[in-house]
């Protein structure tokens, strides 16, 4: 077990501020020398698996694209070979990135992400060809971000060092949409940022990752304090509440900002992340129970207090009789899409969801998949996410430090619960919240952020994986990543 932080329990708000202020001011001890990581020689069996899966996923994407065009226009898509080139090219760039920067990382995550991205592209292209063009661009940016993340973050513990800086960045990102003239209201939620005239993005998508890093780092650092009773009330020992203060403050700030920006989906997501990481790091069920109570209480109060929350709950429970309310129509139409798809679906290019279901390429994209690919296709998407979540948690289990364990867990929670919340929302298991279906739904910020997210997961995976050398000798090396430390 590696503990990187201090053992003293003196974490206070001033520490947060001081660290944040101090960090950029401190002059570097010595100018960093740019040194490229070496190309690891020798066989990389995981990468070979990954390559095979990537090519298989690309073939599926191209096949679906062709089927959609056949269904819609009864012709082979005219640009099928350039399309094939782009799909395989992007996959190969990510794959070579892995070969170079994370050669022993998990082999399943990248192919699943690329496959989901491909399915999403096909569905978007089928309804909004113009959006699809920019989605390709965003996918390319995402792959570049994937590369940059793995290139910059050589060791997961680098992130641990800059936890307060990252928190500050997260705060700035979350506050950005509130700046007048900079932020923008879309569908009643203020979570967009405008840069220039044509470019806008959703900073919360990136903030969620930064918050996750901060939570993981902080909980890894303070888990003893949070779990072992040290304070005394009367003759009973209870856990010292003081270490909770900054974390609650950070969380409360996040919730407040989200509340002001009216983004219920991310509020749920960050809350879930926070509660689960707290429980996993401390092992105290009390936190989970407390979180659940807080959540239910908060939800009840919010439902009465905030008009938008109340409205969402109302249309969730009974959309048929509240068709005048915003968002009721898409829930009703979403169900009809699923029902009309049936088991086999109408076939790609033959559905009509786009005419009736609002936001078919973003919030409701799952309904479009359900109609055209049927129960078989929608289940395949769910199972793809399940595999992604399984791989993420497996990475967490093999990670070699508390921080990286919690980081991998947190990232998995983000992607897993984000997918669950939106799918359950479309299916009316939960109130619909306007978060994206990772990799599938249209949205540049979401796509790029999620590529960054899996890059971080792969970074942790690469560190936790047993290297071929270890597998040969049976001896586990203690370091984070043997080849980085090698001279």
């Amino acid at each position: 077990m590696v503990s990187t932080g201090r053992l003293l329990p003196a974490a206070t708000l001033s520490e947060v501020v001081q660290t944040a202020l101090r960090a950029p001011l401190r002059p570097p001890a010595q100018p960093p020398r740019l040194r490229l990581p070496p190309w690891q020689r020798g066989p990389k069996p995981r990468r070979r698996t990954e390559l095979g899966l990537l090519l298989f996923g690309s073939a599926i994407t191209v096949a679906l694209y062709t089927i959609a065009e056949l269904g819609q226009k009864s012709r082979i898509p005219p640009h099928i070979f350039p399309f094939l080139g782009v799909v395989v090219g992007l996959a190969l760039v990510a794959h070579i990135t892995n070969r170079w920067l994370a050669p022993n990382a998990n082999a399943v995550i990248l192919p699943i992400a690329v496959l989901l991205n491909g399915i999403g592209y096909v569905v978007i292209a089928r309804w909004h060809p113009s959006l699809a063009k920019s989605q390709v661009g965003w996918a390319a940016v995402g792959v570049v971000a994937f590369f940059l993340t793995l290139f910059v973050v050589r060791r997961s513990r680098d992130l641990d060092r800059y936890r307060y800086l990252l928190l500050l960045a997260a705060g700035a990102l979350m506050l950005a949409p509130l700046i007048p003239g900079f932020g923008e209201n879309i569908n009643g939620a203020r979570l967009w940022v405008h840069v220039g005239t044509s470019f806008s993005f959703q900073p919360i998508e990136f903030a969620k990752i930064l918050l996750c890093i901060f939570f993981a780092s902080y909980f890894a650092d303070k888990k003893e304090l949070l779990s072992i009773p040290t304070a005394r009330i009367g003759n009973r020992l209870v856990t010292d509440p003081r270490p909770l203060v900054p974390i609650l403050l950070a969380w409360g700030l996040a919730m407040a900002i989200i509340g002001v920006e009216n983004d219920i989906g991310f509020a749920f997501l960050i809350f879930t992340l926070f509660i689960f990481l707290l429980y996993i790091s401390t092992g105290r069920l009390g936190y989970l129970v407390l979180g659940l109570v807080l959540f239910i209480g908060g939800a009840l109060i919010a439902a009465h207090l905030f008009f938008q929350v109340h409205q969402r709950v109302t249309i969730w429970l009974d959309p048929e009789n509240h068709q005048s309310l915003l968002g009721a129509g898409q829930l009703i139409q979403g169900w009809y899409s699923f029902g009309s798809g049936g088991v086999g679906g109408t076939g790609l290019g033959l559905g009509v969801s786009g005419q009736y279901v609002p936001n078919i390429t973003s919030d409701m994209i799952f309904a479009g998949i359900g109609e055209e690919m049927g129960l078989i296709g929608s289940s395949a998407v769910v199972i793809a996410f399940l595999l992604l979540v399984g791989s993420g948690l497996r990475i967490a289990q093999t990670a070699r430090s508390d921080f990286s364990k919690l980081l991998a867990t947190g990232l998995t929670i983000l992607i897993g619960f984000q997918a669950f919340f939106i799918m359950a929302g479309v299916l009316r298991l939960l109130p619909l919240t306007g978060i994206t279906l990772p990799f599938v739904a249209y949205g540049g910020s979401s796509l790029v952020a999620n590529y960054v997210l899996i890059a971080l997961l792969l970074r942790v995976s690469n560190e936790g994986a047993s290297t071929p050398a270890e597998e040969a000798t049976g001896v586990s090396l203690p370091s984070d990543n043997p080849y980085v430390l090698a001279p």
Binding site: Y336, F338, G339, S340, G370, F417
Partner: protein
């Protein structure tokens, strides 16, 4: 920490399992329900694409068609019933209304009229099924329909004319009528208005939707004596030549009632003497001799107490009291024998009775649809020859025909002025109606020519003044109809005996006769006969009927081409 991560994994698996369960629920368990829900816009889109085929009369005139609208976001077509024939055919064609659904032929053949999947003729059609509408051609002759409208001259009443050999409805007209164009409007208020007019009661308490031709019943009066007579022939042959005393009235058993003859003229004798003058006391006695059970049997053989299988919605059954109801009610038996008391018949039933006698005792299935053609003009189906009921024996029908001719030559219809060359066989009816029997329902059923019947007609005029008789009110109407019908169908078809009734052959044998080229050949599947009949040459391609040789039964001539 590892154990707790595993717990998180279980939580996430449960979450995704919930999603999978709900997906299965929506896409498998409730899929059909959701897909066919009326609020599902996929179905509404189908409704908006309301293309329908044409409804065409026997002479080729179009009775209903769909006109393209070209209004974005609205219905693609407007159903149009040409004004010249809209009211004339409203009882038959019905309507296609957004709000009130379909009625009439529009209802009956909705599945063929709307766009529906076409059978694949090639691999690409199999992979990508096409939809198209079919056109329905009716057996109804607009000229005869118009003659019926003119003969009624606006009075409430109904006229049904059948081809007794095939069951084809040649005309079916009843007042009041309604305008289906209002109901077919895309404007909801116009539809409401159209519906209001269609169900509004007129001064005699009738509305247009409950057609007087097939959805209203009145006591058939003396026209029922045709059935009583055939009951005597079929069930009590000894009574045929029994002579009943000549008298003005007959006392009814189990009561102190006297049944008077119409006009209090004395009458009596055998059936042959009683039917032409329509002797009420004699037929009451005859009915009592035949008995309620036999009368009931004979009435049901003629179609009473079952809904005639006319291919249109809203047809009601005519009523004859059951043996149980008549068992201890001998006056009721007497009154039923002359078509009074609880006996009630539709105009359609009257026409079926006439066609039974005209067609050698067999009632052919009455039908409005002649054939259905697809949008390319290929024959999809035609109605074919389908017997409905064996009403009476051929011998009985042959025996009753001259009696009905006598009704015209020397009986109650003698003053109507039927042309002798038309050889009309008829029976009048003057049924008492109203609260205090202050009104009469004027009936007349007839077929012509008696030697080779080509048309069987029923005329009913309800709620006439008390001094009116069936012959006086319905007679001129019947005369006009017979003359119009015989003028219409042209020269007599070659003589061939009426078809012999056979039980319906196995399913599929009689239902559809197909033609390889439209109108070229038709194959009759009625019981085979050794004769080959050819219709007289016309401008249309001659329809030849070839039947396999057989020794048992004669065959019928096919209906003359109606184009």
């Amino acid at each position: 920490m590892g154990r707790r991560i595993r717990w998180l994994g279980i939580v996430l698996i449960l979450c995704f399992a919930l999603v999978l369960i709900q997906l299965t629920n929506l896409q498998f368990r409730q899929a059909h329900q959701l897909a066919s829900a009326s609020a599902n816009p996929r179905n509404q889109a189908k409704i908006l694409d309301n293309a329908r085929g044409d409804i065409v009369a026997a002479d080729g005139s179009i009775l209903a068609y769909s006109q393209a609208l070209n209004i974005p976001g609205s219905y693609k077509y407007q159903r149009v019933y040409p004004t010249a024939t809209a009211r004339l055919f409203s009882d038959l064609v019905g309507y296609d209304s957004i709000k009130y659904g379909t009625w009439g032929i529009e209802y009956q053949y909705n599945d063929q009229l709307i766009a529906h999947a076409q059978p694949a003729r090639s691999l690409s059609q199999f992979l990508n099924p096409t939809t198209a509408t079919d056109d329905v051609t009716l057996t109804v002759q607009p000229k005869l329909q118009l003659a019926a409208q003119q003969a009624l001259a606006g009075r409430d009443g109904a006229i049904v004319a059948l081809n007794p050999n095939t069951g084809a409805v040649l005309a079916m007209y009843a007042n009041p009528t309604y305008d289906p164009n209002l109901l077919a409007s895309t404007s909801p208020t116009a539809q409401d208005q159209g519906r209001f007019f269609a169900v509004a009661k007129d001064s005699q308490g009738y509305d247009a939707l409950a057609s007087l031709a097939y959805a209203q019943r009145w006591a058939p009066g003396s026209t029922f004596k045709v059935i009583t007579t055939s009951a005597a022939y079929d069930y009590a042959p000894l009574l045929v030549n029994k002579s009943y005393p000549v008298r003005v009235a007959t006392p009814l058993p189990d009561s102190n009632l006297l049944l008077h003859n119409d006009g209090n003229t004395p009458c009596g004798g055998t059936i042959a003497q009683m039917l032409p003058p329509s002797c009420d006391p004699g037929y009451a006695d005859l009915g009592l001799d035949i008995g309620g059970t036999n009368l009931y049997k004979q009435a049901t053989q003629f179609g009473y107490d079952s809904v005639p299988p006319l291919d249109i919605p809203g047809v009601v059954a005519s009523n004859f009291p059951t043996p149980a109801e008549l068992k201890d009610n001998l006056p009721g038996v007497a009154y039923s024998a002359i078509g009074q008391e609880d006996v009630a018949a539709t105009a359609l039933q009257g026409a079926l009775e006439a066609s039974a006698i005209a067609n050698g005792g067999v009632i052919m299935t009455p039908h409005l649809m002649a054939q259905i053609r697809d949008s390319q003009g290929n024959l999809v189906t035609n109605f074919g020859l389908k017997p409905w009921m064996r009403a009476t024996t051929q011998a009985t029908a042959a025996a009753i025909t001259p009696l009905m001719e006598e009704v015209v030559t020397s009986g109650t219809a003698g003053q109507v002025g039927f042309l002798p060359e038309d050889q009309v066989a008829a029976k009048t009816g003057t049924a008492q109606a109203g609260q205090q029997n202050q009104l009469v329902t004027a009936w007349m059923i007839a077929f012509a020519p008696a030697s080779q019947p080509r048309v069987a007609i029923a005329v009913v005029l309800p709620d006439q003044a008390f001094d009116v008789t069936g012959a006086k009110a319905a007679g001129p109407v019947m005369k006009a109809m017979i003359e119009a019908a015989l003028a219409l169908t042209g020269p007599l078809p070659p003589v061939s005996p009426a078809p012999h009734y056979t039980p319906p052959p196995p399913a599929g044998a009689t239902t559809t006769t197909t033609a390889k080229a439209p109108g070229a050949t038709t194959t009759s599947t009625a019981a085979g006969a050794g004769t080959t009949t050819t219709t007289p040459p016309t401008t249309a391609p001659a329809a030849t009927t070839t039947s396999p040789p057989s020794t048992t039964a004669p065959t019928t001539a096919p209906p003359p081409p109606t184009t």
